[in-house]
């Protein structure tokens, strides 16, 4: 009686543990499979590139006329590659001009879309529309609307702008 009871208990435990292990294994496989899903990974890259582009494009169109150097440092942080090089090269000269003018700008990205994305190479292209509020030293302010195309790359430290240029109206 006790023996059969013990045997039954033992087999019940074995079955429960086996079921538990199978469940855990299945869950692990499911999770690994989901993480490795190419489309999902690509979608994550697309969204993080777009998010970074929106933030960085806003930064690069924003200037505090009272604290030009701080704004320029923020610019350099939002960029890398050729754009960062250019900003560093022109930084001192632009700072002098900007400090003299004392004009402040505040930018809002009103819409943006990723137009190209290469996850493996870590490059992306984004188009964005920006509303810029320009406030002169005199306090007079105007609103400007601009359209940009930006190149981004991800060198392991997150997406940064490698290029940023206004999309001009095509010449006749």
């Amino acid at each position: 009686m006790t023996d059969t009871g013990a045997v039954r208990r033992r087999s019940a435990w074995s079955a429960a543990l086996l079921a538990g292990s199978l469940f855990c294994g299945f869950a692990g496989w499911t999770y690994a499979h989901t993480r490795a899903d190419d489309d999902l990974a690509y979608a994550r890259d697309r969204d993080s590139a777009l998010d970074a582009a929106r933030r960085h494009i806003a930064v690069l169109n924003t200037m505090d006329g009272q604290h030009v150097r701080t704004s320029l440092r923020a610019w350099t942080k939002a960029a890398d590659g050729p754009l960062a090089d250019e900003l560093r090269r022109t930084g001192d000269d632009s700072a002098k001009v900007l400090e003299q003018e004392g004009t402040s700008t505040r930018a809002t990205v009103t819409d943006a879309a990723v137009t190209a994305l290469d996850s493996r190479a870590g490059t992306a292209k984004v188009i964005a529309t920006v509303r810029v509020e320009v406030t002169a030293r005199t306090g007079k302010s105007t609103t400007d609307r601009k359209r940009f195309e930006a190149g981004l790359d991800d060198n392991g430290a997150g997406w940064k702008l490698s290029s940023l240029s206004a999309v001009p109206v095509a010449a006749e």
């Binding site: 006790t2 009871g5 208990r9 435990w13 429960a16 543990l17 538990g20 292990s21 469940f23 855990c24 294994g25 299945f26 869950a27 692990g28 499911t30 999770y31 499979h33 989901t34 993480r35 899903d37 489309d39 999902l40 690509y42 979608a43 994550r44 697309r46 969204d47 777009l50 009103t110 819409d111 943006a112 879309a113 990723v114 137009t115 994305l117 984004v126 188009i127 964005a128 529309t129 509303r131 609307r145 359209r147 195309e149 999309v167 001009p168 109206v169 095509a170 006749e172």
Partner: protein
């Protein structure tokens, strides 16, 4: 859902381990204690397995249904190209007219504009019509850049950059930039525009 189930199952395993203690009373005390210890260990292992499994499933579910996971912009290259091509084509024809052929433009607008976009366009065109014929205005629209922000099922959001060349008879043509946020809907296999917002 799975997370809610998991503690209960672990708790059941726990009661199963202690609830059977009455059966083991005939055994010597030491054996009983060892048995109880073993069972507690087994119950803990089982609980750990269920907890880990449940957590992994919840994480997998969260990854699969992350915001943006359902968005097929770029992930479905074919559909993305198609919606961009359809909408670019629609915008080009809807915002291109000559004084002699307003009817074509209006017919095309009727085909591709829906809801609010159609209403807005009708209001605009009503005002424009007289001017166009009187001043012999013509407008040519070209899509310069376009990208899909969102593409989910039969709905899409796009950002489109346009160059618009306007000409009045006898005057020099001027080209201006326009940026539009477009809301689109797949209607009978064709992408239609339901809302247009200037940026």
């Amino acid at each position: 859902m799975i997370a809610g189930l998991k503690p209960r199952r672990a708790a059941q395993a726990g009661t199963a381990a202690t609830g059977r203690d009455a059966d083991t009373e005939e055994q010597p005390a030491r054996g009983r204690r060892a048995g109880r210890k073993g069972r507690t260990l087994l119950a803990l292992v089982l609980a750990a397995l269920l907890l880990t499994g449940g957590t992994l499933l919840v994480l997998a579910d969260r990854t699969a249904h992350a915001p943006g996971a359902a968005n097929q912009a770029l992930t479905d290259g074919e559909q993305t190209r198609r919606v961009i091509a359809d909408i670019s084509d629609a915008l080009t024809t809807v915002f291109t007219y000559t004084p002699d052929d307003l009817a074509t433009t209006e017919r095309r607008a009727h085909d591709v504009l829906r809801g609010k976009a159609a209403e807005d366009y009708r209001a605009l065109f009503g005002k424009l019509r007289r001017q166009v014929t009187k001043q012999k205005l013509s407008l040519t629209t070209r899509v310069v850049r376009a990208g899909a922000v969102e593409l989910t099922g039969g709905k899409a959001r796009l950002l489109v950059f346009l160059d618009q060349r306007a000409k009045r008879e006898g005057a020099k043509a001027t080209t201006a930039a326009a940026q539009l946020s477009i809301t689109a809907r797949l209607d009978d296999g064709h992408w239609t525009i339901t809302d247009i917002k200037a940026r």
